[in-house]
Symmetry: C2
Subunit: 350 residues, 2 copies
């Protein structure tokens, strides 16, 4: 969050919200909280809010807004290796919102439910908000003790990312230029694809995992800080879509923008070098492309994530990503980190 | 919710949201959703939103706002007979909100945590809202199959209510007249007392239960409709605080206002006549006063809840309570009701 009084958001979380957590399985540093549920399963909880004109375009169709709200939360479950089970909705609307909008919103949720294997469990709808504020709380499960975490990366691990990076930013740009755009990056911005199958396939394989919601560099940074390691990323190895490749041709600033742009909803994860075959199998099973993009090193002074270009020069990243939410990157040591719950960072766009 | 297009809210829920649920333990008609979790426990989920200037006074202290947000949700858990476990926060704030406000908000949560035996599990904070929109998702548990429901009342059952009715409304009035008021109803409005001990003590005893958030008549109506019965309430038997008694002296309109006012966060419940002793024991164990206020009858045409005064005349209640949220009183038969999840109604005040 932006703090008018100037307090750093991470300090704010550490001071105000971390003390409200306990040491019982919840993790402030992860994409979602993990709570023991039964002898066989842990439950995974996450919540994300979208505000009209901030997190979605005010004139985006309601079914698309619903799909995005669901998928943003599902992406957090994916990053934990969890299977979706159910969700609760809290919808605060202006009094002027029309029934047709709600009809579209419900249709957008309905269209995705079977595909993602979850159902609406409950909710609360209120009017009186000046702008629509839409909150979804997602509940999933993992076999006990198998949730993917951010704090498990070790020096020597390789760094991987799924899919293409940068299409979140390109998609928003495309949509701003043409509100009817619905192919390539625009389609992926409208309906991001949560990497649920990949996340589940990475259980027992990846040493750490996060979803790319704030931007690749920022989310890799969340892993680095939670794990107490440094990550070196090779910019030339980062997978770009055809639109992304065209966009960065000869423009390093544009490449930096894609690496920090966010809203990609891919998974960035680490694994020991000897897991390369298992990762290839997981990617094949999940039918999701995975690319190796870097390596973990012992923790160091300076930036937790360093990006080098094809010539080996360090790319100066002056803004690692949007971190306006209660960010996961609380700068506490990994041991403490293991005892605090998840807080998601929401990327904002003015 | 108020629908600008004029569609009835219950019809809206039945049409739009009920189809998103499944038949797996979730209940649209209850205060919270019940989902099987382990061999021994069910988990109970509820979510409630408060909007600045709608659900709380814009100048209310932040710690009090936090306490109320927590307790409103805890009251839903109480109505299910559940023990609180954890919660997720989604806080959407205007950019101008000061760190001091957040500090007070966190302090208000912290002050209650030990008392209610729960912890923060995760959250999301965003800026960009025009007014603060605060959502809490509460998670609790009950021994398997023992959650209290709204649909279990049977003809012949007695109707009971805990504590005093009407102090929610009186407290708001007192606070509007004097923003420093903090005794009697004003104190109870500021920090309502969720009836958790009573709810848990009523497991296996009460046939149906709801919390009084929308108003006694409205919430009794939720039980009546979910159960397919009619409830007759004796206005003279409804327990009022000293301030309540003083307020209604010789003023039937005022009595009607208290019976429909809401924000009381007491429990209204039913039980067979032969459970009277068990209820007295539950009340004593929970150290919570309980009063018998009416009786359940077979379903009938006309109002689901009829209130008669001391002379046996029917009190005309033209507005049963505030039902601006996704209300629980979906007019579907009880059998269908058992398969749909919870939606809380939030009372709004302009």
């Amino acid at each position: 969050m932006r703090c008018a009084a100037g307090m750093d958001e991470f300090a704010l979380i550490a001071e105000l919200f971390a003390p409200l957590t306990d040491r019982c399985g919840a993790h402030l540093l992860d994409d979602a909280a993990v709570v023991p549920s039964s002898a066989r399963h842990d439950r995974v909880y996450t919540t994300d809010t979208m505000i009209a004109s901030t997190h979605f375009l005010a004139d985006q169709p309601a079914d698309e807004v619903a799909a995005k709200l669901a998928r943003v939360n599902l992406s957090d479950l994916a990053a934990m290796g969890a299977e979706p089970e159910g969700y609760l909705l809290a919808i605060a609307l202006p009094r002027s919102v029309e029934t047709d909008w709600l009809r579209g919103f419900a249709a957008g949720l309905a269209a995705d439910q079977d595909r993602f294997g979850w159902r609406l469990w409950g909710g609360d709808t209120t009017s009186g908000a000046a702008r629509a504020v839409l909150t979804l709380t997602a509940i999933g499960r993992v076999p006990r003790g198998q949730a993917l975490r951010r704090g498990g990366a070790r020096a020597g691990d390789h760094v991987y990312v799924s899919g293409w990076i940068g299409d979140g930013l390109l998609g928003l740009d495309a949509l701003r230029a043409d509100r009817t755009a619905d192919t390539g990056p625009a389609a992926r911005y409208r309906r991001p694809e949560p990497r649920l199958a990949l996340g589940q396939a990475l259980r027992g394989v990846a040493s750490a995992c996060a979803d790319v919601s704030d931007g690749l560099v920022a989310d890799a940074g969340h892993i680095a800080r939670a794990s107490g390691v440094a990550l070196d990323l090779d910019a030339a190895a980062v997978p770009l879509s055809p639109a992304g490749r065209a966009s960065v041709a000869g423009d390093p600033d544009r490449l930096r923008a894609l690496l920090t742009g966010g809203d990609d909803y891919e998974l960035v994860f680490t694994a020991p070098p000897d897991a390369a075959d298992a990762i290839a199998r997981a990617a094949a099973d999940a039918e999701t492309p995975v690319t190796r993009i870097g390596r973990a090193h012992p923790g160091r002074r300076g930036p937790a994530v360093r990006v080098t270009d094809a010539q080996g020069h360090t790319l100066v990243i002056d803004r690692a990503g949007y971190t306006h939410g209660l960010g996961p990157a609380v700068p506490t040591p990994p041991d403490d980190a293991r005892s605090t719950p998840s807080q998601q960072t929401r990327r904002e766009r003015p």
